[in-house]
């Protein structure tokens, strides 16, 4: 069985500085994989490389065995990879419902149609309602995204990321800045919506990481120094040294 997501010798330079220095990574289908590492290790950059936001300097990224590096973000998305952002990234002036519906449009084959009225597409609207329910945002259905609370915005961010039905999901610090109860709620949500999907998550909160992840990779100065199951990582001396301990 091919891996869901494969990174081979991925490198990224910004001018003279090499931020990602040859990352290899493979995610099996259905795997929940977390990337941890100190600030400035290049975690977000790695996400941006995978999702096509930045071009690679060298190396290759494959999705289900097919090369996606070099494609534009929307092309990568259409192949079944979706991502969230560290800084909330929604359609601010649209309502919650519309954010979700927009996330569904391409996946449901509407393309750039200017002959369908979205209000009349009952299957589409129902699906958006279902997502709304799944996220627990029914009460906030018609509120513009910009007026949501922070936690609600983060929830919606996760919602729009998975709504299109991508089977490889990248979440960039989904629980950052949340209170404890909000965080538990978010973990539960992530667990629910990523059933049968491959998940790659960047997270600072070790609780979240060890709670969610099947496997963990540690990224330090643009290189993965360890990649293993949570328990093994916890005991890895090199990791302790580079990251947890000191």
């Amino acid at each position: 069985m091919t891996d869901a997501l494969t990174l081979s010798q991925v490198k990224k330079r910004f001018g003279p500085a090499e931020i990602i220095r040859g990352v290899d990574l493979a995610l099996a289908p259905g795997e929940r994989h977390a990337i941890i590492g100190p600030n400035g290790a290049g975690k977000s950059t790695l996400f941006n490389l995978i999702s096509g936001r930045y071009p690679l300097s060298s190396g290759q990224v494959q999705l289900h065995g097919r090369r996606i590096s070099g494609l534009a973000p929307h092309q990568i998305n259409r192949r079944g990879l979706s991502r969230s952002f560290q800084i909330t990234n929604l359609f601010q002036r649209m309502t919650v419902f519309e954010n979700l519906r927009c996330a569904l449009l391409w996946a449901r084959g509407y393309g750039y149609s200017f002959w369908h009225l979205v209000g009349r597409q009952s299957a589409l609207n129902e699906e958006a309602e279902q997502h709304l329910e799944k996220l627990g945002l029914q009460k906030r259905r018609d509120v513009p995204a910009s007026l949501l609370t922070y936690a609600e915005q983060r929830t919606l961010e996760i919602g729009t990321t998975i709504a299109g039905g991508a089977n490889v999901i990248l979440l960039d610090e989904p629980t950052a800045g949340m209170s404890l109860s909000e965080r538990d709620h978010a973990i539960e949500l992530i667990r629910n919506v990523t059933v049968d999907k491959t998940l790659l998550i960047v997270e600072h909160d070790m609780g979240v990481v060890f709670d969610l992840a099947d496997r963990i990779s540690v990224l330090v100065y643009g290189q993965i120094i360890a990649s293993d199951e949570p328990d093994q990582i916890r005991g890895n001396a090199e990791v302790q040294n580079a990251y947890l301990g000191t």
Partner: protein, 426 residues
Amino acid sequence: MSTSNFPGGAIVRHAAVWIAAIVVIIVMPYVFTSSSSVSMMSQMGVFIVFALSYNMLLGEAGMLSFGHAVYFGLGGFLTLHAIRAVNDDVWSFPLELMPLVGGLGGLAFGVIFGSVSTRRAGVTFAMITLGIGAMVEASANMFTNFFGGESGVSGNRVTEVTLLPFSYGPQIEVYYLIGAWTIVAALLMFLLTKTPLGRMANAVRDNPERAQFVGYSTTIARFIQFALSGFFAGIAGGLFAILFEIMTAPNVGLIQSGAVLLMTFIGGLGVFFGPIIGAVLVTYMQIALSGFSEGWILYFGLLFVLMVMYVPNGIAGVIVSHFAPWQAGLAHRFAVPYLLAIVPALLALAGLVTMIEMGYHLSLAYDPSRPIELFGMEITATSVAAWVVAVALFAAGLVALRWVAGRIRQRWGEVNQAMDAQRAKQ
């Protein structure tokens, strides 16, 4: 499931608005009967379509264009050439559908120029449209067969090939033709905002990056929106050509492009009826104000600058911001402060207008010492006293206005709190 999800109510409400619009269009010539007002209202119709098409770019998709008149003007030229061809018996096509020629022309040029310009966004896009606009304007002097040189292309709209038994010679018949097209075009553009493309245009405006990560190419979404906008601009141009029976090079030029930007912005971006208000108001001002005052461009510029500073959402934005208090039953609480504001606003305005009018009178007038008639009074621009009074009026008005503005701000705060409290109760 909340009620607004049920489309029936919304459709009924919308239909009522559209029917009302149709009634207004039908009735207006019976209210304003002179041929110049009919002509002015016809122009308003043309510019409503044009401004709405511009709003498709700036309002809906966040694309600031300084060259939208290219599609308007080229559409108009093509329409006029088509009308001439019918008059020369080279072609046969009913006059009623002639704006389609302009529309398809606008679409074609929208596809051509859009394919290069929409690859960029933001200020770069704006500069490309400026460049294309300037280029097309400059080329009007070269391709005189098409643009007719500086005297332009003229034609006779009475072609004898029509669907309905009208000649379209009389102004009023053209008015109703334009009215019908305005309704159709406006309705289509309204529906367009409800389509996947329309939604994604908004998405690309709000957050181009996110739009990419839900599977959409921002370039293609912008491009299609741009081309369709060119189509409607072309229709407006076609109507313009039928109305005036003459097209000249400035119709594709930067000044015309600037005018549509002003209209759309003053009316209000992003609210569907905003550009309609803007087109009506600006057309009226352009025609009427220039008859009242030599300084109409200055009033116009000041209005625009003040709007950018204080009312960036345009007139429609102001109206929309009162919807929520209205629905909450709190709108009446603004009555007193708003009424209070009128007095100082009028004072300041009177002072300003007096100063500007006296200034123009001094610098341009036929006889500067002769008094000017203003607000039913005779004012002598050469007298110091008049200037002192004007400046005092203006200053006093401003000071009072600041004070009232504080009151209004305070009242908004109270109303917002009351609305939050209502919401919390639900």
